[in-house]
Amino acid sequence: MAHVEVVVFWLGFLLYAGGLTFFVEFLFSRRELQDRLGLACVVAGWTLETVTLGLRWAQAGHFPVVGAYESLTTLSWAVVTVYLVLAWRTGVKALGLYVTAAVLLFLTIAGARYSPPLGLTTALRSDIVVIHVAVMFTALAAFLVAGGAALIYLVEDFELKRRHIRPVLGRLPALRTLDQLVGHAVLFGLPFLSMGIAAGVIRAAVYGGPHWWRDAVVLLAVAAWVIYAGAACGRLASGWSGRRSAWLAVAGLVCLLAIRLVAVPYLSGFHSWGR
């Protein structure tokens, strides 16, 4: 069973890598076919990763979020799900390149830190933890998309402002579309982040000891929340958009990535199960 899971995991990884190759080719070759092939690869890879997670769930007996392998695989799955919904609903192109690159990074770390299923510690045996993890992953997926769109926005804006009109620009979504995407993704992710932090705080207050709030993960999560809340308020109240909005989305994403890639494995007192 475990062998099958590993094989399916890496097959899914290869399909995402194929998708990335096609998306890069699309950017420079200007053939629609490449974009469609890339999307097809991502859909196939996503299907295999779904199977991987299903096998893992069946084997472990709990939702697969314990340890780096499980949590990063689940996170990648959530990110690709959000991307596929966006690609299907809006037809926005070029985001696939960024999403596949980010997901391949996550999956590389996940694959390198593969471990057999770990048992649930007492601290994790709680409905509130399940809610915390589920909403946090949803928020993270939305903010990853927002951050990606913001990065593309900043590059494209820079090029257009410099009047560097290169063919590759024609392959990127319109500035306005990207700006709206950033705004929508942030507004979508913020309530989930708020709920996730609230659930985490409740759990930590019970289990985390008197100094739980000094933990790096908690501090970074609150910093990210302040940035996203600021961006959302600015957008709704004063019409913040364009570069300011994009920079905020990137800054928030940096905080969130620091949580996942630095704080959780190296700095945090809790969130460190299985690392």
Binding site: K161, I165, P167, R243
Partner: protein, 461 residues
């Protein structure tokens, strides 16, 4: 039978001559009919656009057909046939097919990759078809040409990037603003390029058009043509606050809008982006405007730079398109080769003989009971039946081979006896509507079969 093309294009003839030979409306089809009505030409299609007038003919006598076509063209345009000869190019058989496919793929166009030619070619063929000037070969050939044009457009990026200043401007506007639906366009001054750009923007869904002029009267003329509203320069600030796209081409000696003025206006727009194009020389818009957040300013040099780069990109796609054309010419040639009479007769014989042998084989067990003499008799009997059945069709086909539309019978024969195998002629393939020959008698010609020569026999060019 041979394929022939003669004509003039932007590559061989000056505008004046092309104007004289241009055949508007259904005149092209009428010329095709006139050529077709004689004894020389079996099928005819005439293509006439502002850049080319070309006559495609299927004939047994290439020289006569070419002379006939040039003569008719000269007569139609009121020019001396000898003078026209100098500007006329021609190609035969495989070279003619290649020429047609290159035209369809827009490789021979003035602006390589332009999309119009394919529609014009379709119309020219349809008109000729409606007039009854085409049959099996041209039905197949022109439908194939249209498919080649489509294939080149989908498999290469030859027509993808705009190569005119106005369409580049529209593409850039879309890059910044996304969909142009309901966007407000403000035009300052009334240059020709700005009018063209407004028309392009309108075609892509842009909403209100406002034309601002020094006086209401100067603005009103352009506003009328663009279905827009004319305003005076006094109202400029209010109009700028509402505009998404600004196109400027006034004759003013200095800047019409400077950075400070627009920065003030942008402050009140909640950072709604503004796309500005300055087509005027000297410039109307302060170049520093481009540094205001949310303002995207391009001048005529920027746009022309993109046009040049896009032209270069298109040319790079040409090699790929030429490969597709070569491949398709090969396929068309193979099909044409199948329309020769002699191989068709041989194939028919082979097919029927095959049936006879297969049936004898099937009866193998029962025939074994016969004596050798009896088996010989059966053999002779069946062979005689086959020969009798095939005798008349063979003789008739050989007689018909001398006629100009022999290939129509060959095509029918191939279909009736499935000589290409069922898969070779699937339903719905071009050429299905091969019409029965309308005229046959008394048109004996020297060349009996349609023989696409592998070596292009271009005359002139």
């Amino acid at each position: 039978m041979h394929l022939v093309v003669v004509g003039i294009s932007h590559k061989t003839a000056p505008l004046e001559l092309r104007e004289r030979l241009a055949l508007p409306g259904d005149e092209a089809a009428r010329l095709g009919c006139a050529l077709h009505d004689g004894a020389t030409v079996a099928e005819a299609v005439v293509l006439s656009t502002c850049n080319r007038t070309e006559v495609y003919l299927l004939t047994g006598d290439t020289g006569a057909a070419e002379r006939l076509a040039v003569g008719r063209l000269a007569q139609r345009g009121g020019v001396d046939a000898a003078a026209l000869e100098a500007a006329v190019y021609g190609a035969r058989d495989a070279a003619a097919i290649a020429h047609l496919f290159r035209v369809a793929a827009s490789l021979d166009s003035l602006v390589v990759g332009e999309a119009q030619i394919l529609a014009q070619l379709k119309d020219a063929y349809q008109a000729a078809c409606d007039e009854g000037c085409t049959s099996a070969v041209f039905n197949r050939l022109f439908r194939h040409a249209v498919e080649v044009g489509k294939r080149v457009r989908t498999e290469t990026a030859i027509g993808e990037r705009p190569v005119s200043v106005s369409s580049v401007a529209v593409d850039l506007a879309r890059q910044v603003l996304g969909k142009l639906d309901r966007r407000v366009v403000l035009v300052l001054g009334a240059g020709g390029t700005s009018e063209l750009t407004v028309k392009h923007l309108r075609a892509r869904g842009a909403g209100t058009v406002v034309v601002a002029g020094r006086t209401l009267a100067t603005a009103a003329a352009l506003a009328g043509r663009c279905d827009g509203r004319a305003v005076c320069f006094d109202e400029l600030d209010a109009q700028l606050a509402a505009a998404d796209i600004v196109i400027s081409s006034t004759a003013a000696p200095g800047y019409v809008i400077d950075r400070a003025r627009l920065a003030g206006i942008m402050g009140g727009r909640r950072r709604r982006p503004m796309f500005l194009i300055d087509i005027a020389v000297p410039r109307d818009l302060d170049p520093d405007i481009g540094r205001i957040a949310g303002c995207y300013l391009y001048d005529i040099d920027d746009l022309q730079g993109v046009v040049a780069a896009n032209r270069h990109e298109r040319e790079r796609e040409v090699a790929q398109a030429e490969r597709i054309v070569d491949e398709e010419v090969g396929r068309m040639n193979d099909w044409l080769a199948g329309l020769e009479v002699v191989p068709a007769i041989a194939q028919l014989r082979g097919a029927v003989e095959g049936i006879r042998e297969a049936e004898l084989e099937r009866l193998g067990g029962k025939l074994a009971e016969l004596s050798p003499a009896q088996r010989d008799q059966v053999e002779q009997l069946t062979t005689a039946i086959v020969n009798k059945i095939l005798h008349l069709p063979t003789v008739r086909l050989k007689e018909l081979a001398a006629e100009r539309d022999a290939y129509v019978y060959v095509e029918a024969l191939r279909r009736l006896f499935d000589l290409d195998g069922a898969a070779a002629v699937p339903a719905g393939e071009p050429g299905e509507s091969a019409q029965p020959p309308s005229r046959r008698a008394g048109q004996a010609q020297s060349k009996a079969t349609l023989r696409p020569s592998p070596s292009p026999g271009a005359s002139g060019q």
